[in-house]
Each structure stands twice: as structure tokens, then as C-alpha cells.
């Protein structure tokens, strides 16, 4: 069962890569990398069950975390083309 699930995840990953390479706009690529991260997380979890050592769920948790932070950082960068604080405006937390 987990073999089937991981094959499905792999196919979905492939499709996401295709989208990232094709992606007409930059936002398509970001979307692709975001979903790609989700799939990588799921793949890690299924591999854990496949190799019968599922105690490494911390890894998947780290993936979720880093994926989220990376996406936020990319968006922030793309909005202001700067990672720093947008100066002079009341834009705390804005994106």
C-alpha cells in the first residue's frame, strides 16, 4: 500500500517539477516549489513506513517548517525585492 502511495507521490513530484521548469510566471514556480515541499514531506513519511522505521517523523516536521519559512521569505523578497524591513510605511506584517 505504501509502495503505491509513494509512487503516486513521485509522479506528483514529477508533475510539479515540470510546472516549475515551464512556469510562465515566477509565481507558478513558487507555487510549484511549495507543493513540492509538501510532497517531499509526505514522501519522507511514507518511506519511514516502508523501511519500517517510522520514528523519524521529526524529519517530516522539519520539512514542513522550512518549507513554510522559505515560501514566506521568497514572497517577502519578491514583494519588496529586499529581505529587510520596508522603510517608512506602516507595513508590519504586510506582504
Amino acid at each position: 500500500m505504501f509502495v503505491a502511495a509513494s509512487i503516486a507521490i513521485l509522479i506528483a513530484m514529477l508533475l510539479a517539477i515540470v510546472r516549475a521548469v515551464l512556469g510562465p510566471t515566477i509565481y507558478d514556480r513558487i507555487l510549484a516549489i511549495n507543493t513540492f515541499g509538501t510532497k517531499a514531506l509526505l514522501l519522507i513519511a511514507t518511506i519511514g513506513f516502508l523501511t519500517e522505521r517510522p520514528e523519524f517523523m521529526d524529519l517530516a516536521l522539519v520539512y514542513a517548517l522550512i518549507n513554510f519559512i522559505a515560501t514566506i521569505a521568497i514572497m517577502k523578497f519578491f514583494r519588496f525585492s529586499h529581505l529587510g524591513y520596508p522603510q517608512g510605511k506602516d507595513e508590519i506584517g504586510d506582504l
Partner: protein, 120 residues
Amino acid sequence: MDFPGLINYWIVIILMMVGFYIVIAQGNLIKKIIGLNIFQVSVFIFYITVGKVSDGSAPIMAAGIDTYSNPLPHVLILTAIVVGVATTALGLAMIVRIRTAYNSIESDEIERAEILEDDK
């Protein structure tokens, strides 16, 4: 040649050559850094594949498992990754300085600018 047994090395080599090509053939400095990263990752994969043992498990002791993969390459690569990111940061910092000095991150343009400076 033994096909299935050596395929991991071939993948590593192809990946490495892609990285190598990017480093030597691309003019853009940021692309060069990314190429360097790809090269690095290929070396990491090489080490990890050497340490892998068939039917082995991750080298964390647990009841009921007696074949483990080789932990030594893992340790080496673990440190190498962090050193890699440190060097990447250093390289990127240099790129930023180069940009302020020459107003470009393309290596040909930087060369041209240097020649101009020498002529003066």
C-alpha cells in the same frame, strides 16, 4: 560492465559534470555558486552511496535491527554540508562586494572593467 551495481556512480558523475559545466561555462557569478552547490551535492551523494549497505538501516540503535549503514560517511557529510553553507555565504558576500566595485556580476564584464582600469 556491471550495469545495475554501478549505476549510482554514473548518476553521481553525470550530476557532477552538470555542476562542473555550470561552473566553468557560465559567466554569471551567482550561477557559478549554484553550480558549485550542485557539484558539492554530487560529492555528498557519492559518499552516502558508498556508506549504504544493502538491507541496512539508519545508524540509530533500535531493538531488532542488526544491519546498519556505515555511520562514518554520514558524519563527514554532515559537517561538510554546514561548511558548504558557510563557504556559500562567504562567496555570496564577495559577490555583493564585487557588484559594488564593478557594478556587474558577469565575469566577462568584470574582466573588461579590469582591463580598462589597467589601461589608465
